[in-house]
Amino acid sequence: MRDFIIVTNNRQVSDRYERIYPVEYYEVTYMQTLLLVRDRVHLGHALLTHPLAGSIKPNETPFKSVMISRSKGETDPGSVQLIEESIETYNKFKNKKFPNMSLRMRDDYAQIDLSLLENALGSAVEK
């Protein structure tokens, strides 16, 4: 059994992977996704990918996918620090740059988020 969960607000990710891997899809904002991940980290899940994957700024893309461990243990201080720092970084980029994004643009951002996750999965699953 795979010891990870994909937490995502990206429909493309859940469409691609929900039948093969544990995926939790939430129709929420980027920030809300980070907060959901943070809650899970405090409950004992470890972060498996960096919450700020990619170089696209948090106020530009609506999509966020993060991998966390499926199993729970003692709260991992490294994961806590990482998710909290990521949220702080997000807060630096408060103003939404493109509030009325075209579908094409949304699709492009979704594709990139999917690609970043895909590559992370490559590392998670290759054993």
Binding site: G54, I56, K57, S86, F98, I112, A120, S123
Partner: protein, 426 residues
């Protein structure tokens, strides 16, 4: 490895009936270049334009900038594993059309990245305003997927730069710079008592639009490894990174790595430039752990006294940077790290996403969130309307008079983390 880099100075560029370099002028046969690019069936059509320093021209969205170079003598060819066959490069003689570049633009995704202004205030923030450019504007075939489109544009740029570089093959260069690194034993014998220093270069390697290739191999798939600095001068490292214009390394940056140049300047004098370690910036945390462990291990193995560490990109690479710095320092090797900052538009936010007291020697390329006003340019090459969806800008960035209000992020190379530019912050 020893490489003689010959500069053929280019002071002008123009379209002509025959492609050639004569008296410092790069003449380009448009049709020949178009034919070459259109060999790729995924490209529907291509436009070529010229942009020179001082002209009121804006190029956007910039995907990559590549310097025309050619192997004049010795092993291998330019861009091994991508254009030329796989063969070790970095020795012999290489000629450079210095003062020229190929710029690719492409609306690969709907959000855009990369502005080069050839004049005005924006020109001060990019090194590319000083070069004579051949701008390649490609249109993909209908329905081409993003990653294929990115590849098509990337290859078009490399092919064109290799084609132009070929024109310099038999020309006697105006000036020659010689670079040589030695094996461990030879280096110790030649430079006893000089501190052993290496350059650790972090390569962007996260996925679509975020990739770097080493001899054609995707950097995210590699373990940290060593490479000779002169290999980069022959295009061993090539950019597939089209995000975060200000702090991504174009292929031009890889070919002209300033850390390598400045370490060579001190080589044999105040230090022994032992070599180079390349490492990646993956998304998976265990990969970050592995890569940084490996990098520190290599630094220890090389018995280094010091290392310069550079990063690429925004956000999570800060974690890799700090991991590398900490672990290398823990091996007893002193570090200086080069980064840029996202301190918010008012400059008050914490600049880096990660930090550690061991990172006590930092060089910064400046705050990328700084807001700038780019006045209207007479001509726009590329896709003008994309200024409204420019990453680092916002909806409405493009004003009705053609000027742009956006963050410094939008300018290609403005806060480069190899230390290519003179911009800094305090």
């Amino acid at each position: 490895m020893k490489l003689e880099l010959g500069y053929v100075h280019i002071r002008d560029i123009q379209f002509a009936s025959e492609s050639k370099v004569e008296n410092g002028v790069l003449h380009i046969n448009k049709d020949a270049v178009k034919k070459l690019i259109l060999e790729d069936e995924t490209i529907e059509s291509v436009d070529l334009e010229i942009a020179k320093p001082g002209q009121s021209i804006r190029i956007l969205p910039v995907k990559d900038v590549i310097e025309p170079r050619v192997k004049a003598e010795g092993r291998g060819g330019m861009f091994p594993g991508m254009i030329a066959k796989v063969d070790t490069v970095g020795s012999g003689k290489t000629n450079v059309l210095k003062g020229s570049a190929v710029v690719t633009t492409g609306r690969i995704v709907a959000f855009q990245e990369g502005i080069i202004d050839m004049a005005g205030p924006g020109a001060e923030y990019t090194p590319f305003s000083q070069l004579n450019h051949l701008v390649v504007v490609c249109e993909p075939v209908e329905g081409l997927k993003q990653h294929e489109h990115e590849k098509a544009v990337r290859m078009a740029g490399l092919k064109t730069a290799a084609y132009l570089g070929q024109l310099a093959k038999d020309i006697v260069p105006d000036e020659v710079h010689t670079y040589e690194t030695f094996g461990v034993k030879e280096g110790l014998e030649k430079m006893p008592g000089l501190p052993r220093v290496a350059y650790v270069q972090m390569l962007q390697s996260q996925g679509l639009m975020h990739d770097t290739y080493v001899y054609g191999v995707d950097a995210k798939k590699t373990l940290s490894t060593m490479i000779c600095p002169t290999e980069t001068m022959d295009g061993a490292i090539v950019s597939g990174n089209c995000v975060s214009a200000c702090d991504k390394n174009t292929t031009y940056h890889h070919q002209n790595n300033p850390v390598i140049e400045d370490l060579f300047a001190q080589h044999g004098k105040t230090l022994n430039f032992v070599g180079m370690v390349i490492t990646n910036e993956n998304v998976y945390l265990a990969d970050k752990q592995r890569s940084s462990d490996w990098t520190a291990k290599l630094c220890r193995f090389l018995d280094l006294d010091g290392a310069v560490v550079s990063q690429e990109g925004f956000g999570n690479p800060d974690t890799d940077l700090i991991m590398n710095c900490k672990k290398i320092e823990e091996e007893g090797v002193k570090t200086v790290i080069i980064t840029d900052e996202y301190a918010g538009q008012d400059g008050r936010s914490q600049s880096l996403a990660d930090a550690d007291p061991k990172a006590d020697a930092v060089v910064t390329g400046g705050n990328a969130n700084m807001v700038i006003h780019l006045p209207k340019m007479d001509k726009v090459i590329g896709y003008a309307e994309t200024a409204n969806t420019i990453a680092g800008g916002h909806a409405g960035s493009l004003n009705s008079d053609g000027s742009i209000d956006a963050e410094l992020q939008v300018i290609t190379g403005s806060t480069n983390e190899l230390g290519f530019g003179r911009l800094s912050a305090r």
